[in-house]
Symmetry: D2
Subunit: 503 residues, 4 copies
């Protein structure tokens, strides 16, 4: 096993097993059972960026594997592999709907009509393939880039969107319900193509980057940079960098101010309500809730539930966040209450002992960063009965009849049981586009073989592109004021280390 593998190991031992598969094995289909277990390992490593809403098309109509089909788009192009090219019209409508909520990308397209900042760029991408991604891809194309794309998650592809992209001339390799073998085959088809070599990578989770490191390391000679969105992928890049193995500049989009602030606080403020309603139809008014952790996610959850009339208690480990919770009027508690929300990123925050003490009917869910917050494994014991009452909703029943309502088996509620507004994804997608432009056009000396955050000024630019949606117009500094404050009139307006509060 190569040293590169070691770098990736820390994020999950399963990866090591995956690469026992060699490329020549692609055509061997895994059995039903092994496919199931394999796909789990992939989805687990990919849950930290947003999955799509359920696809609205029925995928049960056709059991043939896309790899076995011969499809062409209306212009005769066959350089793609998707479920069903006939769904293109429906997918186009989904893309048009998404365009309306992604004003910044549409603005970028307009501004780029003259100049083509990505002219000559050959981007290989591996992300969720959804209507929002399609808007990003078509924007990149409008800016001058060529794109080849695979899915970063075996379940999240909207087949009809993939069809619309293929019909539009994009080389897309993705469908909902890929096997693990399919997954790597699709990635390989994106990069392993005659007469075309990528010079930019857009990744979500690091699988594409890993594959190129593993199989085609020489490709990095021509690659100008990597843009990575997910926590996991960023973590891998930092490890590569530490180990001195990162051979191109990389941009960490995940930690950009705009993404953090809006994804975490504002988005969770809405999705906590949405996720709970869709799964349990619970009434919020008067419900007693414990929110574990008063970081940004916790602040969003607490604000929303309080506004809906819930009585909210928090727990915290950090005294500063705890004091903030005090000033916002939240009590501290460890009582066994009716509705229970977990928001912290940590391990075993909710353990069996606590669940043993919870009241009958208590709902337990996770808004944290990963799947480790609730110790679900501790509930898989013989004396407890599990009853699946709805999709994503289990009743876990104690011997005395007490029921705990467990949502999404402890996985992230907002990704599993609610949707993410397109407008939030727009912020991320715009950041990705700007990161690609920056890396592609930067003078060679600007970025070294390291991981970078987007410059503050670009963060501010992403924000400014989203303001017209709200009819929000900025005040401009006068020359005198700019001088007084020691600022450039066009920004950046805050030091790089500043992270503005969110009240």
């Amino acid at each position: 096993m190569s040293k590169n593998d070691g770098v990736f190991n820390s994020t999950g031992v399963l990866k090591r097993i995956q690469f026992a598969d060699q490329k020549q094995e692609f055509n061997k289909r895994p059995t039903k059972i092994s496919r199931r277990s394999l796909s789990r390992s992939i989805s687990q490593s990919s849950t930290d960026s947003y999955g799509s809403a359920a696809s609205y098309t029925d995928s049960s109509d056709d059991e043939t594997s896309p790899r076995d089909k011969q499809q062409k788009n209306s212009k005769g192009n066959a350089d793609f592999c998707i479920k069903n090219i006939k769904q293109a019209d429906f997918g186009r409508r989904e893309i048009e709907i998404a365009e309306q909520e992604m004003p910044a990308l549409m603005a970028l397209r307009k501004r780029a009509q003259g100049e083509k900042p990505l002219a000559g760029a050959k981007i290989v991408g591996c992300t969720h393939i959804t209507a929002q991604t399609a808007v990003l891809m078509e924007t990149l194309s409008a800016l001058g880039a060529q794109c080849r794309w695979a899915a970063c998650n075996i379940y999240s592809t909207q087949n009809e969107v993939a069809a619309a992209l293929a019909e539009g001339g994009f080389s897309v390799f993705a469908w909902k319900g890929e096997s693990e073998d399919d997954f790597w085959w699709c990635i390989d088809r994106c990069v392993n193509v005659e007469g075309w070599q990528p010079n930019m990578i857009l990744d979500d989770g690091g699988d594409l980057t890993h594959w190129i490191y593993k199989k085609y390391p020489s490709m990095f000679k021509k690659i100008k940079g990597i843009v990575e969105e997910s926590v996991t992928g960023v973590h891998r890049l930092y490890q590569l960098s530490k180990a001195g193995k990162l051979c191109v500049p990389a941009m960490n989009v995940n930690d950009s101010v705009t993404k953090q602030k809006f994804d975490n606080l504002y988005c969770c403020r809405e999705s906590i309500l949405d996720g709970l309603k869709r799964t349990t139809d619970v009434m919020f008014g008067g419900k007693q809730v414990v929110v574990c952790g008063y970081g940004e996610v916790g602040k969003g959850c607490c604000a929303a539930l309080k506004a809906m009339g819930s009585i909210v208690y928090v727990t915290e480990i950090d005294p500063i966040c705890a004091l903030q919770a005090c000033f916002q009027g939240f009590s501290f508690a460890f009582i066994s209450l009716l509705l229970y929300v977990v928001s912290v990123g940590n391990k075993n925050v909710v353990v069996r002992e606590y669940m043993d003490r919870m009241k009958n009917g208590c709902i337990v869910c996770n808004m944290g960063h990963s799947n480790t917050e609730i110790d679900v494994a501790s509930l898989r014991t013989p004396e407890l009965t599990w009853e699946r009452v709805r999709s994503q909703v289990d009743h876990v029943i104690w011997p005395d009849g007490k029921r705990i309502v467990l949502l999404a088996e402890g996985r992230l509620l907002n990704l599993s049981c609610s949707t993410v507004p397109t407008f939030v994804l727009s912020i991320t997608a715009t950041t990705q586009a700007l990161a690609l432009i920056e890396l592609y056009n930067a003078p060679e000396a600007r970025y070294k073989q390291d991981v970078y955050l987007l410059p503050k000024k670009m963060d501010e630019y992403v924000a400014s592109l989203h303001l017209p949606t709200f009819d929000a117009h900025l005040t401009e500094l006068s020359d005198e004021q700019a001088k007084y404050l020691g600022l450039n009139k066009n920004g950046p307006f805050k030091p790089n280390y500043y992270r503005s509060a969110a009240a």
Copy 2:
């Protein structure tokens, strides 16, 4: 003029003039007129830390200057100079009331009953002399320190508190309504004393530090460090440091996370309402308000006014803050509305042109950092009539009869027209005490001749000392969780650069 002076000049040319006064001139009393203008210059440089609430004792009873009085406390000690030692009992009651809202200092006293972390410390201080400061001083004393103290503002001393301190054995030199000459005389009396030399400085505004630099530079040989609270003082220290002239370590208390977060956001959330009510009795419900700036102060003002039923509009220069305002439901406007609040730290945010367009009855006030936000000078023109309707409230009347209600002549509303809760001052005072302890006890190598922020862990400690007031108990990390998160179980829980949001 020495080079040191150059360092301080940038904060105000007035300083240069002040030092034309030589020490031997102390006994010459300034005329009424010059006293007025001089005191203004001082108070201007000192408004960035909190002034006290009005003294409740009547200061008009006695016209004799304290410098001309002979007073002793009940134990025969005469090493102080205050208004009237007979007010000591009343001052003691004020101190006792303050103690109830300063739980962290009281906790420090208890913990220090065994060890005396400030044993041997000789602290010279120059701060507002209020009940809250008295609690701090008596805490420092309980921790082992000797203290000599002067006022950092000629108006803010609570005479009865000074009396209680003098009665308690502290060498205090301060009274309400000092002349500028008195001001420097008092500071000098603190440091220029036979057989005693300070080894720690606690400053608020930098005047004490400046005086020692100017008059007794050799004292710095024995001084272990400076703790500075105000924006102005910190600014001076950074300039000294840049110029290579800072000869001891200094601790910047002003920018500690806890102070920033609680002083700015939560305190302004309350004081904007309080200041407006006390001056104008205005009804908030339904009032249209423009808040200029959506930083932490602006966020606090907006949240409070929105909660009281005002219709709040904002202006911003920074697109990220602007986008936050959007997500919180604030509109952007530059219309001439009924109630007008300024919160940004900047120059001439509200200029004459805007005030010309405001509606009749519009209230204009300043919650910013300094006194430059509202261009009050532009209102001092012959065609406008000024009418003082209440203390701190002027009507400025346009030729057509339109009235603008200007509060505190454009100075900071919350310092001028409302009080600051003791609990908030408790956070600052505790931070000061910890900074003194840290600097006094740190091994020599830890701090160089530079300006430091309080270590994150101490910030967290300050916060944790205030949690019992709210019955808030922290959750402790298990060993397993601490390992998973890569944290020490006792903190710090966030990286130094982290500034938590405030929703």
Copy 3:
């Protein structure tokens, strides 16, 4: 046509046509097309009480009409007509889940273990047949009553719940997807039974009451009273009363304080968010919304949207409600904004002219009392294109490409696109149960042939039965206090005309 018909005509001319069907025609099945149009007329008249959430069982498995099936429960009883008795277990679980959120009915069961206040009562009911209704029916049974039941809506029956009821021995006649003919046949089967005659009616919409008036008027001799829940049904009863044709006392449950307050304000506060999310996944933060009408429903919608960061404008006709909106910080507007909510009960509040002026992407929906608020008919013109993008979501497209997003074709959003929390239904169901008990047990002189509101004290009792869920304990008046206030210690605490505010 009889005179009775005239009474009902005012609520809908369609009714007249329905009764052209004679009882002997029951076995003629309507064609697919006519069934469709007929069912529409019924559901329209019944939307004013809550329909159920979608049934979770698959109804497509079996095309045989229940009327053609022979089914028995496990005890051999066949006096029912439902979809499939085999679903009983699944239905029982749904009922058990509902029981957990209906604490007041469960408390009534316990209290009635000794006394049986409905012993001898023979109740015929016509309501939505859902898990919540099942909890009510089983409570009535525990209180001593016999029940026969039909559905008040052809779509709303939860088949599995009907199965569980039939298995439990209830004579239920209802399934999801009845034809209009089925609808009346089921009602008839409830009342037209040998050896059993109802003495109480529980109705929702007035169809059952109407049927008895029409077909079996002599039954009223034995009937002690009618309990009616819906706006439509209550309207019919008041008309009967006015016309001097009401021959038994009737209880108007719809207008009881508890129902009004909690159904309208608190329930809409949650369902406006839920309905919008489920249909459009829209982000609330920063959205500009017009809410037409600031009554209780409007107040709930406005509070929720404001709390989520929307910028909310209102329109009102009543100056008192308008002034309340002012004090709560809402602006008045008639601009064409992005998200548009209708809450008032009125006709043509949103007309074509306004929709012509709305912005692209504007969402239009109805939270009002009926289906007349949005002039949907005016959108059915040739130049506008309708596109169904999801269930309950249409894009109406103007010739210039502008799209309006119309939800539920203008029908009530919360009934069509969100669910109603069981806890809210619990309040209504408890009120129904108490109304039945009151009418059944009242001395003959208490109620005449008129429509009554539930006595204030019973309203208070309903509320008090729901308090334990929230751990809310009432304070009891001392004798001295009761005397001072002139109140009975056990209530009622407010005069009958009092309707408490809802801040």
Copy 4:
């Protein structure tokens, strides 16, 4: 003692003693001590309508009783008795400031420029004499009325306003600090005047009405009606009516919808914060508060404190209000918390036993209807020490050192320690003016010798006159909509019994 007295007795036995004073005793001045106790009895009976803010003029300058002074206004008129006519200019400015916040009265003046609906009216008034009352009086005058006026409270007169009124030609008899003897003397001077007899009464507390009943009963022959504002006065009127002794129609302004809604809910929402800050400078964030009673006052207090970050608990006797509190997210408690607010109108809600159990530092105050809520008498025992720490603030100290902070000695906090926004008083004053117009102009048959509420339509009119301040424009019903709703296009829009919610 006459029977009339019996009617008034129930509101306070003290009244009986007062009338032992006979008119001829007016010139005997009470001693200091007796004046003190007498004035207490009066102020107690009058606290239920708003007192004024403190007068801004210094009243200590002149010890001569106004009754001993000879004063004339600039036109030579001497038919008044006030403190000092020279303060007229200052009072005029206060009136002008008030005019800006009383848009409805100013609108009435404009509309009445042609017609004079009060032409011929001779109004005798007894209310607080403040700038706001002056705007009302000058409006009545502009509408055609003649006015003579006395104060309804011996402390609340703004001397400078009285001066401005006298200067403007009004016969005013009032000053700050009247003795009880002065009080009745002033009232008598208003009515007992040669050649002038009132035909309308505007009263606040019922003292004027009582005086006329007592001394000049024959005057009622010419009086067209009484308009009464206070709870106490209304109570007296209802008792007169019950006893068959009311000999003219009376209008109960206190219970008009507009007054109730805006005075209670919105005004208390602001004044709870204002009153607490001005007396204690307490920080709201994180404070635990118990609000006793969740009626409209309680709702306002709870909403404000929650918005400022307090943790609010409630107590209730009425289960419906209790359930509302649940849905709004308030917990129920009877624990001894840090900050304690009383809002209910009742007797001995906070008894000694509870205060014995409260935490050290707990603040106790009253936002209720009268002075009976807190059992202050129970704190006047030898083992407790009272310490006056500020005006309106007492520390009550238990033997173990525990301190309770009692505000305003248990009297109403918002009247004692905060001011009432002029805009709120504008609503009341407008209602009074309209009530006077209505009674004065109504055809004789419309009102009998009874107590009436203002017609709903007039309530709506008062509200509509205040909307322009907020730029709030009403939507008008179309003919079709009015018909559909069964409403007149110009209102009233709600039935008389309707009291809209206040979310």
